[in-house]
Symmetry: C2
Subunit: 280 residues, 2 copies
């Protein structure tokens, strides 16, 4: 995305751009960020809603473009956002509810929408001792699960989420939304399995996988920080050669007919067990 | 749904109906079960996939109509399903992949689809001592969360899910799918709050709510069977007067910026704590 994109449209007394036409090229450009290929190409993603954008700001993330509904009410948090965008030489664009709806793909759009630079980092930029828990997902397919796992990561004080192999994009609109702000508090890394494994074994860390192929109860194992919790694909679970690489395989009790939990649920049950051991 | 619906279409050598036309009224009728009003009116719902339909059969639930793709492979579990449907005087209908796709609303339909009588029951039909854990959701909005909560309920050995106030329909296609079969293992009840409370207080049971308005750590409380875990709406949590009615309010540690977990995740973390206390 060319963030120097020169304005088509009016400018108001505060120097903010005003866009009222659906045909404005910026509308199409922003809307395209709902698709992965456009996010990858531009290195930007979308986040919506005053609460989310405020949490981002508090974590030091300021949008390069801030779209605001011309029908929104005055709010000190909106002013704080506007100030942060101006200080960062970002653009503020006032537009209609209908155009926000078009850009966000929702009938009922939030009154603010931000375009952010994506902040995926490399494994080597991670300080693994910064947190006691790290979440690692392998070939996760569902963006809602991914966002929910980020949210859980924030709750248990995890350092971040390492996406191994072909996971759904963490910066998709649905993942960002489900993360409830955790997309801005958790480090996001993507790496192929061999690269992750090499990095992991270059330092301390216990790799823990959940599996049906073990008798270890998840409460019978002592977790050592930093603990890396490995979550498999929703349908297949972990490949068996990935399980072999784990330091520990554990299982949760399953009292009913089913043999597995939802991936985000299993992650949370595991992550709270690790946290509970650490806080005792 | 009129399950005596007389056939338009051919009948094969086994007496099974064959439907090849999109305009067959049965296609429209089945497709309409994706909408709540039609489910309520007819008292039926849809479930898809051989695995799910097999789990249903093992729990004693047989579809009144079984749709099968004419391009599916032979499979002993399919034969078992067909036999069960015949024994119950249900209908077996062979159709095309395209029509299955239309009925299920998925580009990539499963090769079997069943129409089931919905099996919601009343509070007075519940034997609360049948299980140590019961899940209670209040104004839950997301069908994926509801299905995931059912799946977790199955895993922790819960008796069922009591839906209080205006919850999303447990028999929606998405909830059924997310439940991964638990829609057939868990009792499903819907009741207004005052009615639930009256029923609850007519017998034993500890009502536990998760809340920000308490200092009780969720691991510092002793749960007494039967434990009723009350989950609030995704956005609002529990109304304060509902919290007042709880025997115990607890909170989970939140180490990050967020003050809450996803509703299905919170339910699972709580439910596993209750189970873990009970199995010790």
């Amino acid at each position: 995305m060319n963030t120097d994109f020169s304005a088509h449209g009016e400018v108001d007394a505060d120097g903010n751009r005003i866009i009222t036409g659906f045909s404005n090229p910026l509308v199409k450009q922003v809307r395209s960020l709902r698709e992965k290929k456009h996010r990858k190409r531009s290195g930007h993603f979308l986040a919506e809603g005053l609460r989310l954008l405020t949490e981002a700001r508090e974590e030091g993330y300021v949008p390069v473009m801030l779209f605001m509904s011309d029908s929104r009410d005055e709010h000190p948090l909106v002013s704080a956002l506007e100030n942060a965008v101006r200080e960062n030489d970002g653009q503020i664009i006032k537009t209609t509810r209908e155009i926000l709806s078009k850009m966000s793909g929702k009938d009922n759009p939030q009154t603010v929408l931000g375009v952010y630079r994506d902040h995926a980092i490399n494994l080597n930029d991670i300080d693994r001792h910064r947190a006691n828990i790290w979440l690692v997902a392998q070939s996760l397919r569902d963006p809602g699960n991914l966002g929910t796992i980020l949210r859980t990561g924030d709750a248990v004080g995890a350092g971040g989420l390492i996406l191994v192999d072909d996971c759904v994009d963490a910066f998709s609109v649905e993942a960002v939304r489900s993360s409830m702000g955790a997309i801005f508090t958790q480090k996001i890394v993507q790496a192929p399995w061999p690269e992750f494994l090499k990095w992991l074994r270059g330092g301390e860390g216990q790799l823990v996988g959940t599996s049906l192929n073990t008798d270890n109860d998840y409460q019978g194992v002592k977790y050592e920080a930093p603990t890396f919790l490995l979550i498999g694909n929703e349908a297949q679970g972990l490949p068996s050669d990935y399980e072999t690489e784990c330091d520990t395989l554990v299982k949760m009790p399953m009292m009913g007919k089913a043999d597995s939990l939802n991936a985000a649920v299993a992650t949370a049950v595991m992550a709270y067990e690790v946290l509970n051991q650490q806080r005792k």
